[in-house]
């Protein structure tokens, strides 16, 4: 559905996007992550045909964005960062204009305007001037114009900036609802948002791809071993010795006492894999007559993975230089 091959974009001497390749199947939602200035917006602008790449290729819905710009753009609904809108227009008037600009006939444009206003919840603001809208509502109008004409691909640059928490949940569930029918690329700094809405992630930094894949894979793959956090009641040395003997446990560290339970202690266990090890730890503790109060797997958060990936790349880049 979307295919990016060896995409490069130079602005004078600076390389904004550097041989970036990734692909996305229909119905998937891709989280496009990276620190500020990583080249996310540049990549999106190439995909929407705002400017052509310096080299490489980008296909949207099978159409090359340079060779067949109209066909490629017909397949895309785009919501740029900061949502530039004609502030002197009224919401409904603006959306009808977008319908016309997208080539819909008047009847269809009117119908689509009604549909998208309903979808993003701005029907009540239909006759308000865009300049009088709050940031959140402007953002909705931006999303509405992207949805207009029902394009199979949506490209959303920072779609939830400017929303309050309640609205964020609403918009996220709206985007999640596209899964399976529309192909979506959304860029974001907000990692939990990506975790909550996306099936795939692409992480770039300094224009280069550092990681690509399903979110779960990315998390597990980067973690190396797994770890467990347990809260146990009993003598600390005896417990440490006991835990070290459990097969699959590679390291034991006591990380402090519980503030609520007398004589209870937190341990962090480095293990080789989840599941079996956790069961064995539980069994060993209970068999030895100690109290097992808590047992939970610790998985690396997306933030950790993100930091690890983007800083690693940065460091290796500096070494090379």
């Amino acid at each position: 559905m979307i295919e990016v091959r060896e995409l490069t974009k130079r602005f004078g001497a600076t390389v904004a996007v550097d041989r970036l390749s990734f692909s996305l199947d229909q119905g998937e939602i891709l989280g496009f992550l990276g620190p500020n200035g990583a080249g996310k917006t540049t990549t999106m602008r190439i995909l929407t045909g705002f400017f052509p790449p310096s080299s490489g290729q980008a296909l949207v819905n099978g159409h090359d964005v340079v060779e067949e710009p109209k066909a490629a753009r017909r397949a895309v609904g785009y919501m740029p960062e900061n949502v530039p809108l004609y502030s002197e227009m009224r919401v409904e008037e603006y959306l009808r204009f977008v319908g016309g600009a997208k080539g819909l006939d008047r009847g269809l444009a009117k119908k689509e305007t009604g549909r998208v206003m309903e979808a993003v919840g701005i029907s009540k603001r239909a006759h308000q001037l865009i300049k009088q809208l709050s940031k959140g509502y402007r953002q909705r109008v931006g999303l509405a114009q992207a949805l207009l004409g029902d394009p199979p691909v949506l490209i959303l640059d920072e779609p939830t900036i400017g929303f309050d928490p309640g609205q964020i949940v609403e918009i996220r569930s709206l985007i999640k609802g596209f899964a399976g029918t529309k192909t979506v690329i959304l860029s974001s700094h907000i990692l939990p948002e990506v975790a909550a809405t996306c099936s795939q992630v692409v992480i770039i930094t300094q224009g280069r791809l550092v990681a690509e894949g399903p979110i779960e894979l990315l998390r597990a793959g980067r973690q190396g071993g797994a770890s467990l956090k347990v809260l146990l009641q009993g003598p600390q040395e005896a417990l440490t010795r006991l835990l070290q003997e459990v097969p699959g446990v590679e390291g034991v560290a006591c990380t402090g006492t519980s503030p609520h339970l007398e004589g209870a202690c937190y341990f962090t266990l480095e293990t080789e894999a989840h599941g079996q090890v956790a069961a064995r730890v539980a069994q060993a503790v209970v068999a030895a007559g100690h109290g097992l109060m808590e047992l939970s797997p610790v998985s690396a958060s997306l933030e950790e993975v993100f930091m690890q990936l983007t800083t690693e790349e940065h460091a290796s880049g500096e070494e090379a230089a």
């Binding site: 602008r45 929407t48 045909g49 705002f50 400017f51 052509p52 109209k70 066909a71 753009r73 017909r74 895309v76 785009y78 740029p80 900061n82 530039p84 809108l85 004609y86 002197e88 227009m89 008037e93 204009f97 977008v98 319908g99 016309g100 600009a101 997208k102 080539g103 819909l104 006939d105 114009q145």
Partner: protein, 255 residues
């Protein structure tokens, strides 16, 4: 075609939803109204003198009143047009709406044509408004309708040339003031460059006259249509529309 119409309608709405069109229209009508008043007063005075002194030459309404008024209108249009065209592309570039507009499946041609025809329509409305004066005159005296129609046709062609040029300067920059001034100055020079013709070598003089907007306009207020003048204006409009499209395209590659 649908995209063209959508853009045309949006631009027209933008002119008439903001004070721009009204301010320019009012200023234009005040100026042309003043010139009309002054011209008619002077012509009336001159007519009285002619009646008293049979030795003076015969007065002709088209040559001695209307042609002058039409020429004044064309000069005022020269100043009004860049004020109307400066925002067309510069504003969209500055506010970022151009990025969104160009992500729609429309051609650069329909963007440029939609904006061109919108600004041209506003100038046409302004020019048409001066017919109030013509009708006032028609109450007092029979008018030479055919030369008058030719004059107004010339005015509209001229307005089209101003708009095409202003649209092009607006495509070059994201600063509206720069777009306006880059519109005024070359237009004024192109308008007047023919005046230098008698002062230079004949060959260069012919070239200057050939380039001059003013020289090619001269015939219209007298009710004369010269194919060369028609071709000049059509080519002028075509050239700057073409350059606008190419600039839009080039800015994508350079961006």
């Amino acid at each position: 075609m649908r995209a063209f119409l959508a853009i045309y309608r949006r631009e027209m709405a933008a002119y008439f939803h903001s004070p721009v069109a009204y301010v320019v229209l009012v200023a234009f009508l005040l100026l042309t109204g003043y010139f009309f008043y002054a011209g008619v007063s002077f012509y009336t005075l001159a007519s009285l003198q002619v009646m008293q002194n049979p030795m003076m030459m015969e007065l002709n309404l088209q040559d001695h009143l209307l042609a002058g008024l039409i020429s004044n209108v064309s000069v005022i249009l020269l100043f009004a047009a860049p004020l109307l065209t400066m925002r067309l592309l510069a504003e969209e570039r500055k506010s970022g709406t151009l990025e969104l507009l160009l992500s729609y499946p429309l051609s650069d041609l329909s963007v440029v044509m939609g904006k061109f025809f919108a600004a041209w329509s506003v100038l046409t409305i302004m020019v048409a408004a001066t017919w109030v004066q013509i009708f006032l005159l028609a109450f007092m005296t029979p008018l030479p309708w055919v030369p008058l129609a030719v004059s107004y046709g010339g005015l509209l062609l001229m307005a089209g040339a101003f708009v095409a040029f202003g649209l092009w300067t607006s495509s070059l920059t994201e600063n509206q003031i720069v777009a306006a001034f880059a519109g005024f100055l070359p237009l004024i020079i192109l308008w007047a460059v023919g005046w230098a013709a008698p002062l230079v070598k004949p060959a260069l003089g012919e070239l200057l006259k050939g380039l001059s907007l003013g020289t090619h306009f001269q015939g219209f207020p007298k009710g004369l249509v010269d194919t060369a003048d028609l071709v000049y204006f059509v080519l002028f409009i075509g050239l700057f529309l073409f350059l606008s499209i190419r600039t839009l395209e080039a800015k994508r590659w350079k961006a």
